[in-house]
Amino acid sequence: MSTPLLEIRDLRAGIAGNEILKGVSLTIRAGEIHAIMGPNGSGKSTLANVLMGNPTYEVTGGDILLKGERINDLSPDERARLGLFLAFQYPVPVPGVTLVNFLRQALNAVRGQEVPVREFRELLFEKMDLLKMDRDFARRYVNDGFSGGEKKRAEMLQMAVLQPTVAVLDETDSGLDIDALRTVAEAVNRIMNPEMGLLLITHYQRLLNYIRPHFVHVLIDGRIVRSGGPELAEELEARGYEALEAELAASGN
């Protein structure tokens, strides 16, 4: 069995003294795709933000390990340099900064050295071709005036260029129509490789029609209440979160 890339142990976290994650544990190994599903308010986005080190959130217990190294106390940029990536649910506009300039600085930062211009251009164009993106797109200002689909594709391009070890995709399917969803999912499948781990965070099962996870976890009220294979996602889609919550309540869990 391969080494865990990401280990989350009994993670507790919240915001302004309000605990949202109440002990989450999860292990992702190389080549694995995990999906975390949950209703609104279950703590999905909190988990994504806490993994990346968003200073708005406070970790109150537990450990996050990236390739065996505890990263609880590392800043977001230090985590990124260790190979963690978060695709944002709401990518933030940075007016005046072109995507190409941003990507170049980001790549230099995660590699810890200046990447020669020619090498960077080749990498960028290779990845844009891979994701079937028009090259002019890189000259636009980061997320500024992007459509919902463009924002998510730009996130995928960043992931492709930065080549993280572990990528967390926070509700990447939200706000996309079916064509855009398919395009973005294809991008994820092209980027995914056997050395990488992927954590998909989603409300709906529909993304999982295009990206097949190896494991599915259900997050309710800050806890993973069930884990299983891809069939769990289909079951949830058919029965809804309420049925599962009722079942759990009945079993006294």
Binding site: M52, P76, G96, V97, A106, A109
Partner: protein, 467 residues
Amino acid sequence: MSTAPLIREEGYKWGFYDPVEALYKAKPGLSHEIIDVISDMKGEPQWMREFRHRALEIFWKKQNPPWGSPELQSIDFDSIHYYVRATDRDARSWDDVPEYIRRTFDRLGIPEAEQKYLAGVGAQYDSEVVYHNIRKDLEAKGVIFLGMDQGLKEHEDLVREYFGTVVPPADNKYAALNSAVWSGGSFIYVPPGVKVEIPLQAYFRINSEAMGQFERTLIIADEGSQVHYVEGCTAPIYSKDSLHAAVVEIIVKRGARVRYTTIQNWSTNVYNLVTKRAVAYADAVMEWVDGNLGSKLTMKYPSVYLMEPGAHGEILSLAFAGAGQHQDAGGKIIHAAPHTTSTIVSKSLSKDGGRTSYRGLLKVYEDCYDVKAKVRCDALLLDETSRSDTYPTMEIDAPDVHIEHEAYVSKLSEDQLFYLRSRGLSEDAAAKMIVNGFVEPIVKELPMEYAVELNRLIELQMDGALG
């Protein structure tokens, strides 16, 4: 002789000084005698001497403006040296510039820039222009680029026709002061149809302590001509404040195009109180690109008077105020003819308790129909202690006008910082990236070398911006 600079400031690399005694340095304070000394030394015509004396009377009568910074009250006019002459010639070759002055401009990179990407260069050291040169091909086409004093000597008729017509001495207290004791600055004339494709640059350097620099620039762009003039400025850091009160007058004739770019980087003991104004005639275009990074207090509102149909005015203003600085900047556009258009874009940054104020006027006179004007002001605060204010004035006396006005004040966004940091950028690098993006609409208007320089200056200001 100057005393050594007392204050060392991190990040300001132009604070060095030359410990050489000036050839002539007027006693501090203002008087009619001083004016006669200046006028005598320059060998000026009688009308200019009289112009100066009249202006001094106006200066004494005029109050500081009731608006703006109360700091103005602390300027000690009696302790300022109004005229400091380091050398008695305006050279056309750097070899003829006194060596210590040449060294200063070498350190500032001016001769090198001249070689690489400029059509002409002027260099002023304290009160006098020490060097002026223009490419031979442009000179052959009749383009004049001289120090203002030299311009007066060689082209008296032209100077007399326009001098003080765009900014009269009575315009404001500091215009009056400049009119009384002006020295140096540039005189530019571009003949009809001649296009100067690469920039002319002037560099203003204050070296002496408690010094007043009062350069006077006059640019006349004749019909269908084109010119881009760039100015830069720095000074050593002394414990006593210096005063820089320039006047710039620009005449943009029918179909001509003038762009005037400033990258102001005075040390933070300089009061920078400048009056800049242009008149634009039919189908002419006047553009001010005004970057203010240095000085203790800057009050400067470049103006364009749109005098005839088809004229277009544009003001791009960038201000960065750090600790102890107040940048009171903006612009004025006066639509004095129908079918005229204008744009003002202001971007300001404040950090470490610095203060920026946008102050602007948009005026449309009666009967000026079919006028389009746009004003946009963005302020970015980099921390909790800094401040930004907006004082926009609109006087619209015509019915058929299209005016857009937007103003935003924002703080450095936590969301943006987190987003950029999640991609590996340090907090500092992320903040710099946000700031560079914020000023991009102005920076992209600059020639490449100046864009690089401006970004570098902003990064220096940003260093240590975040704990």
